[in-house]
């Protein structure tokens, strides 16, 4: 058995006018939490759909746990939460879940048992048993839970979540994070795509950044950050950048890039710039410094640095 959950080799997908994915290769280690990062329109969803054999690649190969993804039954070990979510609105919750589980090769009697467990776990059984309600009687948050149950009901070894945090309320978002970590502890592989770098940085073991259908970089999060160097400085100022402070933070002899968040700044210095000198000049300028820290760049910084604002291909919208 392969120790790669997913092995994508030289995959190409062309549409009429543009190339959605060009010569993409990436490997997802078994048992890891893997982030597929990129701006909207970068080719994330196309890549995920090709992994799931929803779209056929024009060239290249994709294997799941060492077997080609076109092999019959292999997709039964994959759980998928698409970005565009929805359920049969007029159907009873329990019947929707049963149907989706059956499609993944679970026998109806087993599925019924699991559905009860999951409904209880997501507190959908209380004063009312929401399993017997119709989908459109459920609140949005409850529907999200049901959708998530549908993804995990057949106990997949590989879970693919496309923009899982979009549209989630904070409580469900936290529940999702907990669930992802629990899956990892149980040895499952989780891939999720996102354009929110904070989530990725906190949760992922490895990431791959893609833009314009191409891989920009990939690897373990620590290695990616390390290779990006530590010429970054985090600065927190009480009361924001007053008077000349702002000019110092943007001094082109020191600072290559300044990410200004009003009270918090993330600076990227030129390779030969002296951080101590910068600190002194900030004090001289009258800055009220709460934090001044040499640090590794955040994924967000790396992303901006490597992809830039031009990472989104013109004329494309909708699916990454």
């Amino acid at each position: 058995m392969s120790d790669l959950a997913i092995d994508i080799r030289n995959v190409v997908k062309r549409y009429d006018q543009h190339v959605a994915v060009r010569d993409l290769s990436l490997q997802v280690p078994r048992g890891s939490v893997y982030g597929l990062l990129g701006p909207n329109g970068a080719g994330k969803t196309t890549t995920i759909r090709m992994i799931l054999d929803i779209i056929l690649p024009d060239a290249g190969s994709i294997s799941i746990f060492g077997r080609p993804n076109t092999e019959s039954g292999i997709l039964n070990s994959v759980g998928y939460l698409p970005e565009e979510r929805g359920l049969y609105k007029k159907m009873q919750v329990r019947r929707v879940l049963l149907f989706l589980a059956e499609l993944k090769g679970i026998r109806p009697t087993d599925a019924a048992k699991r559905i009860d467990e999951w409904l209880a776990r997501f507190s959908l059984v209380g004063e009312r048993n929401w399993g017997d309600a119709r989908v459109d009687e459920l609140s949005r948050g409850m529907q999200q839970k049901v959708q998530f149950i549908a993804t995990l009901l057949h106990d997949p070894d590989l879970v693919i979540l496309d923009e899982p945090f979009s549209g989630l309320d904070p409580i469900n978002a936290q529940a999702l994070k907990d669930a992802v970590l629990e899956l990892k502890q149980r040895g499952k592989t989780v891939i999720f795509s996102t354009h929110v770098m904070d989530n990725a940085e906190k949760m992922c073991d490895s990431v791959c950044i893609i833009a314009r259908g191409e891989k920009v970089l990939d690897g373990g999060v620590a290695a990616v950050k390390k290779s990006a160097g530590s010429r970054n400085i985090a600065v927190s100022l009480a009361g924001g950048a007053q008077n000349g402070v702002s000019a110092v933070l943007r001094d082109p002899t020191f600072v290559r890039r300044c990410d200004d968040n009003n009270n918090y700044f993330e600076l990227e210095l030129f390779p030969n710039a002296d951080a101590q000198l910068l600190l002194r000049r900030l004090i001289d300028a009258g800055a009220n410094i709460e934090r001044f820290e040499l640090m590794q760049p955040s994924l967000h910084q790396i992303f901006l640095q490597r992809v830039g604002a031009s990472g989104v291909e013109k004329g494309m919208s909708g699916h990454g």
Binding site: Y15, D16, S72, Y80, E84, L87, L103
Partner: protein, 450 residues
């Protein structure tokens, strides 16, 4: 893979059969058909002569015993509904011509009293001359009663005049009671095959039923696809099932619903007509009726029997086969149309070409009815989009050889394969395309790169 088609089909089938709309349609349609068929029967039964025309006074001023003859005929005519234990007989008053006005006045007064005579008939010399008689009564506008009275009076006038001319009595009786009926029977190369009307009834009803079922359930497939797409559930499902299997399962499931519904329709209609029909007829003729075979209701009964009983088993079998083929052909096209669009309004537009194909077939039904062996009819037998309706229709009208039936079924099956192939390619791409409605050239591209 095959198993997944079955799972999809099962969901489609159960969700639809469980719905209230299905139950309503399944029960309401046969009731409607029964009502539509029964109403003319009811009217026919209603319009037959009723026993009321026996409750009359006959004022006979002819002096020839014509009144007694008519009274006798009224009592013996078997087509007049008869109430058991009804002992009322026509009262004949033989009067002189001068007394007629006074007697008429008395009879008119009696008609106005409750539970007395229904009306009175006045016979004069003019009647005997074969010109006119006069009737007044409460049932004067009841077509059935008046028709019966008119024919009895005419018959008895003829009999008495023939007798007067010296024609032998037995010959007169024979002539008078001869009951002429034209019955028609269809002859085919294979022998006798029910009445001519039966074939047309069967052909039209089968054709109409097939057409309506294909449109109705085809639209259902379209709506189902659209629902999966607009509720965004499609992508989860497609990550577990190949789009082709999803399409196939959907078409099978909805087709199963169609077959179930039709079986229910046939069963309920047959029940209603066989068991309820006579009851309604009884009700229509107020009480115990011995309606004879030659009466109006008898003819209606025959027509009714023709539309169902006259339908040979072979037509039913072939109709079912062609329903399945035709449904698969059109339903997969409907599914493709549904996958291209995002809203019900757009769906109607996208389904237009499919609808046109169906309508063009339907418009040809009339010419084929008129001449089921024309070149046009033969061409339509072989085209995969028209044969599912035309073959059963023509079978009801003329003889279609088993070889032709098998051949056109085969062509239609190939048509289905082409339609499924085409639809699956559109469906595969269309299911995950949101946004504006694609143009035809875009759809052509989908077909190429799917």
């Amino acid at each position: 893979m095959d198993n997944k088609i079955f799972i999809v089909a099962k969901r489609e089938y159960l969700e639809r059969v469980r719905s209230r709309t299905f139950l309503a349609f399944t029960l309401v349609i046969p009731l409607f058909i029964a009502a539509v068929t029964m109403f003319p029967l009811y009217i026919a039964a209603k319009s037959g002569a009723s026993t009321a025309i026996r409750h009359v006074t006959i004022i006979d001023a002819t002096g020839s015993g014509l009144g007694d003859r008519i009274a006798h005929a009224l009592m013996t005519d078997s087509t007049i509904a008869r109430i058991p234990n009804d002992t009322v007989t026509p009262r004949v008053e033989n009067v002189s011509a001068a007394d007629v006005p006074a007697r008429e006045q008395a009879a008119a007064d009696e008609v106005k009293l409750p539970d007395h005579i229904t009306g009175y008939l006045v016979l004069t010399d003019s009647t005997l001359a074969g010109k006119s008689a006069r009737y007044s009564g409460r049932n004067a506008s009841t077509i059935g009663d008046m028709d019966k009275l008119r024919s009895l009076v005419r018959q008895e006038v003829m009999v008495s005049r023939l007798e007067r001319e010296g024609v032998r009595k037995d010959i007169v009786n024979d002539l008078a009671t001869s009951n002429f009926r034209l019955s028609s029977e269809r002859l085919t190369e294979r022998g006798r095959g029910g009445s001519g009307q039966a074939g047309i009834f069967a052909g039209i009803s089968v054709g109409l039923l097939l057409f309506m079922s294909i449109v109705f359930h085809g639209q259902n497939v379209l709506r189902g696809v659209l629902e999966e797409k607009s509720s965004r559930v499609a992508e989860v499902v497609i990550s577990s099932v190949k789009p082709e299997s999803l399409l196939a399962g959907k078409v099978l499931g909805v087709g199963g619903v169609g077959l179930t519904q039709q079986a229910a329709w046939f069963a309920i209609s047959a029940y209603l007509m066989n068991f309820l029909g006579p009851v309604i007829l009884k009700a229509a003729t107020k009480g115990a009726v011995t309606a004879s075979a030659t009466s109006g209701s008898g003819a209606a009964n025959a027509a009714l029997g023709a539309s169902f009983g006259g339908m040979a088993l072979s037509i039913v079998a072939v109709s079912l086969m062609f329903f399945v083929i035709g449904f698969v052909f059109y339903a997969s096209l409907y599914a493709a149309a549904g996958s291209m669009v995002n809203s019900e309004q757009e769906a109607q537009q996208a389904a237009m070409p499919v609808m046109l194909l169906l309508m063009s077939t339907w418009l040809m039904v009339n010419p084929v009815l008129i001449n089921p062996n024309s070149k046009l009819a033969i061409v339509l037998t072989w085209l995969p989009w028209s044969s599912p309706i035309m073959v059963p229709l023509r079978m009801g009208l003329t003889t279609v050889s088993p070889a032709v039936i098998a051949g056109s079924a085969l062509v239609a099956v190939f048509g289905c394969i082409a339609s499924i192939w085409l639809s699956a390619r559109i469906y595969r791409v269309g299911m995950l395309m949101y946004g504006k409605k694609p143009s035809f050239s875009e759809v052509a591209k989908w077909i190429r790169y799917a």
